[in-house]
Symmetry: C2
Subunit: 210 residues, 2 copies
DNA sequence: TAGGTCCTTTCTGTATGCAATACTGCGAAC
DNA sequence: GTTCGCAGTATTGCATACAGAAAGGACCTA
């Protein structure tokens, strides 16, 4: 018996397929085909699908199985502020002592982001690391769980966002300002810039939405 | 084929069993026994269990199945403020126009609570209706989903809370003050009282924790 | 040709079966 | 007396099997 349940690996794989569009928005998920393609039986696959549906990454249509929810600009407009507020809350609930150790590490990741931007690499992954680090000291696991559940939904809309290098540079600057504010112990500013960072991302997203 | 998947009904039933203690904290869930008792096969039961584990109402121990998480005072201390902030956020994101129609209905439910309190009935259900009504106009379904996921976790700790009639009366008063603030269009006060309502509940909870 | 009905096929939802692991109790060794 | 080891049982995790509902298409009707 594997130490990690099969359904966890499957959920991860399916999540990436939804995010990169191999499971396109609006498409139905064929359990038999997907199970065969992944080399597993339907049972653990369905277990993974149910978990993802509970998180909102899929929707369950009774009698018709699961399908990838269609893109909805309204949904994006609601997800970005939601993640923004949740992250800000996590930041407020992190003890100043714990926060004190973070700015240097945060700036190191921000440097990495800048390098990745020049090389034209994948910023999304580094950005995730930065935010993950920012919240890593938050003592409320349930809040972190909610954030972890919500971010993938948002990432579906993110593809266009990181397309613009101008915005990416701006975003990196905001990240540095957050780290600077934390260094000064100025939590309100850090939290405000954090929220603005997310909201601005949404604004750029709206621009080249298809 | 039933219009509602079996797993949904099962999830509901299991949730109530966890909340009322028929599935006690720390206990392992025996899939065969429970399936037999509920008159279903293990497959939809497992699907329900997995969904509940994703929401945190159960925990999955690889190779050992599912178990009801033990009570943890720290967890309660983190859940109450979390639900408080989430509800306050939902309130802030509801349009004032929509809110205007609520206070009368809210007070009606508050009256019901007072009546139930005198009769010594179950306040929890009425309280849920009140909060559900308060958030019913919030336009962000994802936030509502997070709240809906988190509240059951909190309700496990709530049993002792409603035991004290004094606190119950105080809480009803706070509910009325929230409705009054909404009537005045004073959202900050409404939101502040709402948060305090939850935090006070936590304070009382701590008192007669076993 | 448009629409409707019946039939076939496909797929989901649920049940059952199987193999491997985790638990339990007992006995033996120290 | 305690602890380790082992056998037997119980239970999970995954695979497969089956029944009934949807989807799709052919045929008939108007």
């Amino acid at each position: 018996m594997a130490r990690t349940p099969l359904r966890s690996d499957l959920a991860e794989e399916i999540t990436t397929r939804v995010l990169d569009g191999r499971l396109p928005a609006g498409a139905r998920v064929n359990e038999v085909h997907l199970a065969r393609e992944l080399g597993v039986s339907r049972t653990p696959l369905r277990e993974a699908l149910i978990g993802l549906a509970d998180r909102g990454l899929l929707v369950s249509a009774p009698g018709r199985g699961f399908l990838v929810p269609p893109f909805d600009p309204d949904e994006a407009r609601r997800l970005y502020p939601l993640v923004a507020e949740l992250e800000a809350l996590a930041l407020r609930w992190t003890s100043p002592l714990e926060l004190a150790g973070l700015p240097d590490a945060l700036d190191a990741v921000a440097d990495e982001m800048a390098g990745t931007l020049e090389r034209g690499g994948d910023l999304s992954e580094v950005d995730d690391r930065w935010h993950g680090l920012l919240l890593s000291r938050c003592p409320n696991p349930h809040l972190l769980r909610l954030i972890g559940q919500t971010k993938p939904l948002l990432k579906r809309y993110e593809s266009c966002y990181f397309g613009g290098a101008a915005r990416a540079g701006e975003s990196i600057g905001e990240h540095r300002r957050i780290a600077a504010a934390l260094r000064d112990g100025d939590l309100p500013t850090a939290s405000a810039v954090l929220v603005r960072n997310w909201v601005k991302a949404l604004a750029y997203l709206g621009k080249d939405e298809r």
